[in-house]
């Protein structure tokens, strides 16, 4: 595992763009478990208890079971990763995450050879997550990745930002970050990880498959029925900020394009 780090630095996964401020990152969130307004998570997420926390890892793994968060963290290398973050709603940020590579966690549980996909689930606790008291989405929130996507060194399980503990509104205590995909793929407050041989049905795709695919790679060439995907607004630029062009795979094409060789990304969006 120690060998992964230099490889990461050489590939230069960190963006050199200026990160958004801590305030911007923690007051402008989509986390419908706490409400649909961008400010709701910051207002209401303090009700969430994140300690104790454990992650159930099951399905096609060698060592299924409930993994305590403290236990997990003691075995992981925590890195800082400055990633671009692009929401499907056409806004974006630059976020200095702290976290470990998801593949480390999957290896901890041991991946069976039949496993092809990873399914993630968010906590369901309506008494602390007020948004879940209404049937806006089919709770709990579910996301999924193909195994090779999950094993990619860019794919992070974030535990903090700006060197601080991850705030609840950003998906504490443990969230996925897949920087080349639209933000909704980066599921928050994860309590369950299942390795499977079938493609998981992610929440938004189940609601509207025309708007949200399983892959949901950032792609300016694939039009979305409601938001233009060819450009984006970088949060923090103020009222007169110019829109910036959206880049394929959110700028991580060099690192991840190989995963999708031979696929028609306009069909498998």
């Amino acid at each position: 595992r120690a060998q992964d780090k230099p490889e990461f630095k050489i590939n230069g996964f960190d963006t050199t763009e200026t990160p958004n401020t801590f305030e911007e990152i923690t007051t402008y969130n989509n986390f419908y478990e706490f409400g649909t307004d961008k400010g709701d998570p910051a207002k209401y997420a303090s009700a969430l208890t994140t300690d104790p926390w454990s992650v159930e890892i099951d399905g096609l793994v060698e060592r299924p079971g409930s993994y305590g968060l403290g236990d997990i963290l003691s075995k992981m290398d925590i890195d800082e990763r400055i990633y671009r973050f692009r929401c499907v709603e056409a806004w974006s940020m630059v976020i200095p995450w702290n976290g470990f590579e998801l593949r480390q966690l999957l290896q901890l549980a041991g991946i069976q050879s039949k496993a092809k996909y990873v399914r993630f689930e968010t906590l369901y606790r309506p008494e602390e997550m007020r948004g879940q008291q209404r049937p806006l989405l089919d709770w709990p929130y579910v996301e999924g990745l193909r195994l090779d996507e999950a094993m990619h060194p860019l794919t992070l399980m974030a535990t903090g930002l700006y060197g601080k503990e991850l705030p609840n509104q950003n998906g504490a205590p443990l969230r996925l970050v897949v920087p080349w995909k639209y933000g909704f793929k980066s599921i928050k407050s994860v309590v369950k990880i299942t390795l499977t041989d079938k493609q998981p049905v992610n929440t938004w795709k189940a609601i509207n498959h025309r708007e949200y695919g399983f892959y949901s790679n950032v792609n300016p060439e694939v039009s979305h029925p409601r938001w233009t995907q060819s450009s984006e607004r970088r949060i923090g630029g103020g009222v007169f900020a110019k829109r910036i062009e959206t880049v394929k795979f959110n700028g991580y094409e060099e690192q991840v394009a190989d995963l999708y060789k031979g696929m028609d990304l306009t069909v498998q969006y």
Partner: protein, 203 residues
């Protein structure tokens, strides 16, 4: 009924023109907050949404004036034109924010209008209100005669499109825009029943 009479008497003494002055305050305040960083970290979206929502609220008030008189006896008809014009102005500002501060790029604006149903619908509602705003003056009413009333029935589909636009733009089925749509639908339905009853009366 006493309260309604008091209200109607009070209204009689208030002119409509101060509404135009008061109406300037919210957009100016919001724009000031936006440029001074008091409108959150995404001031453009906030400005856009607030202007759109405020416009819809004022237009709903406009739509409520006739039923209010019919069913509650409250006569606010003298404010209707001002409200309609102000509501339109807010929607126009909402559109301007979207054009100039949000999307910015002309080719994308055109694509958005043609290809994204919620924008097409919102745009259609706006375009329908254009002739109404232009003819909201005494001269046009005199000039158009009975045609004026027919023309201004365009407001009904226009506000309905506005409410549908709001429902379509949010993710999932959120309650707030559905409440707006329900109010608009009820206010429109009250009118449908009416004209049916009138027709029956004539027969």
């Amino acid at each position: 009924m006493a309260f309604v009479d008091v209200l109607n008497n009070a209204v009689r003494r208030i002119p409509a023109w101060p509404l135009y002055i008061v109406a300037v305050i919210p957009p100016v305040a919001m724009f000031y907050w936006a440029i001074t960083g008091q409108l959150g970290v995404d001031p453009v979206k906030n400005l856009e949404h607030e202007m759109g929502q405020l416009g819809l609220q004022v237009l709903i008030l406009t739509l409520a004036i006739t039923p209010l008189r019919k069913y509650a006896g409250v006569n606010l008809i003298k404010f209707r034109r001002a409200l309609g014009v102000i509501g339109f102005a807010y929607i126009f500002l909402h559109l301007l924010v979207w054009l100039v501060l949000d999307v910015q790029i002309l080719s994308q604006i055109i694509k958005d209008i043609l290809k994204r149903p919620y924008i097409t619908i919102g745009m259609a509602g706006f375009v329908m209100m254009l002739p109404l705003a232009v003819t909201s003056n005494n001269w046009s009413i005199r000039k158009l005669g009975s045609k004026w009333r027919v023309l201004h029935k365009l407001f009904y589909p226009a506000i309905l499109l506005g409410a549908v636009h709001f429902v379509m733009l949010v993710k999932g089925w959120q309650i707030e825009p559905l409440v707006y749509l329900a109010i608009v639908t009820i206010l429109l339905a009250l009118r449908v029943k009416w004209s049916a009853r009138l027709r029956m009366a004539r027969v």
